[in-house]
């Protein structure tokens, strides 16, 4: 019985941690959308900034992957 409750908590926690992935998607979309908005205003400057775009996406994505990691740890390691 107690093990069942603990396992239930584990699964609920993993599900909540999964929310982080969706929130990171908001962040990545924000970065890419703002880049596009700026790039359409000044297309000639956009080419040089793709590296910055990918660095920004990588940093936003890292936090989502942390929550994915937490979910995985809850599911398989705890």
């Amino acid at each position: 019985m107690e093990g069942d409750i603990a396992q239930m908590g584990q699964f609920i926690g993993a599900g909540i941690a999964g929310l982080g992935a969706g929130l990171a998607a908001l962040g990545v979309g924000n970065v890419a959308g703002n880049f596009l908005a700026g790039a359409l205003r000044n297309p000639s400057a956009a080419g040089g900034q793709t590296a910055t775009l990918f660095i920004g996406i990588a940093f936003a994505e890292a936090l989502g992957i942390f929550s994915f990691l937490v979910a995985l740890l809850l599911m398989f390691a705890v």
Partner: protein
């Protein structure tokens, strides 16, 4: 496999990441040859074929393999000079090696029934720790105690600087974690999603839809394989820039 069109759907998306010894037994020691070893070997062979054999002709009008090799070389060269500056070119071979190895491991892992070494934290963490140790050593050797000014944001108000120093210090030491988990996480998640959709295909009713979705996801994974290799290499460049020019 795809048996039992109704009822018992059995999807085990994480099974594909099991490390197995190739030659009998189930015991894994330090030098056991496993499927990870095999596919890392294939990645190295692919890089060698492309960059050594492909460009051996040194033709003025390049063959397909040679022009692909030259394109990758020019791409990474431009990335290192753009992000980290001309004096980082000493580390160009290192970053090129990392980029090509990760790219080839990711792409070969997309072959059905293949194994992806970069889906394991053990593989990516070694690469990320190597980058971290290299970059920190270079920063300290090149700049001495000046390297610590990386953590002291001189453009911020004086009261904020100690707080920012703590945050910068934490974010500096989290770097190898995020660097390795990003690659392993993206690849693991992508392959698991493909496996889950493949499991849905066993239900005959939605099979056509699932197969269309799998083609789309496969294309996305192809993109991710390239982007993650690019992101790993470009973050190495960013860290290298911080080590070579630590002033904010």
């Amino acid at each position: 496999m795809a048996e039992g069109s109704s009822g018992g759907l059995s999807i085990s998306p994480m099974e594909q990441f099991t490390v197995k010894p190739l030659f009998g037994g189930s015991e894994i020691n330090l030098f056991t040859i496993t499927n990870v070893t095999l596919w890392m070997f294939f990645a190295v062979v692919a890089v060698t074929l492309l960059m050594v054999l492909g460009t051996r002709g040194r033709a003025v009008v390049p063959t397909r393999a040679q022009s692909l090799g030259e394109m990758i070389y020019g791409f990474v060269h431009g990335m290192v000079t753009d992000v980290a500056g001309k004096d980082a070119l000493k580390f160009f071979p290192y970053i090129m090696t990392l980029f090509l190895f990760i790219l080839m491991a990711n792409l070969l892992g997309l072959i059905p029934t293949a194994f992806t070494p970069t889906s394991h934290i053990a593989v990516t963490a070694v690469m990320a720790l190597a980058v971290f140790i290299t970059v920190t050593t270079v920063g300290i050797v090149k700049n001495g105690t000046e390297f610590l000014s990386l953590f002291w944001v001189s453009s911020a108000p004086l009261i904020l600087r100690p707080i920012l120093a703590v945050i910068e210090l934490i974010s500096y030491f989290v770097r190898p974690v995020s660097h390795s988990v990003r690659l392993a996480g993206a690849i693991t998640a992508g392959h698991a999603v493909m496996k889950v959709f493949a499991g849905f295909a066993a239900a005959a009713l939605i099979a056509p839809l699932t197969i269309v979705a799998m083609v789309a996801i496969y294309a996305l994974e192809f993109l991710v394989a390239g982007i993650q290799a690019y992101v790993f290499a470009i973050l190495t460049c960013v860290y290298l820039k911080d080590a070579l020019h630590p002033h904010h």
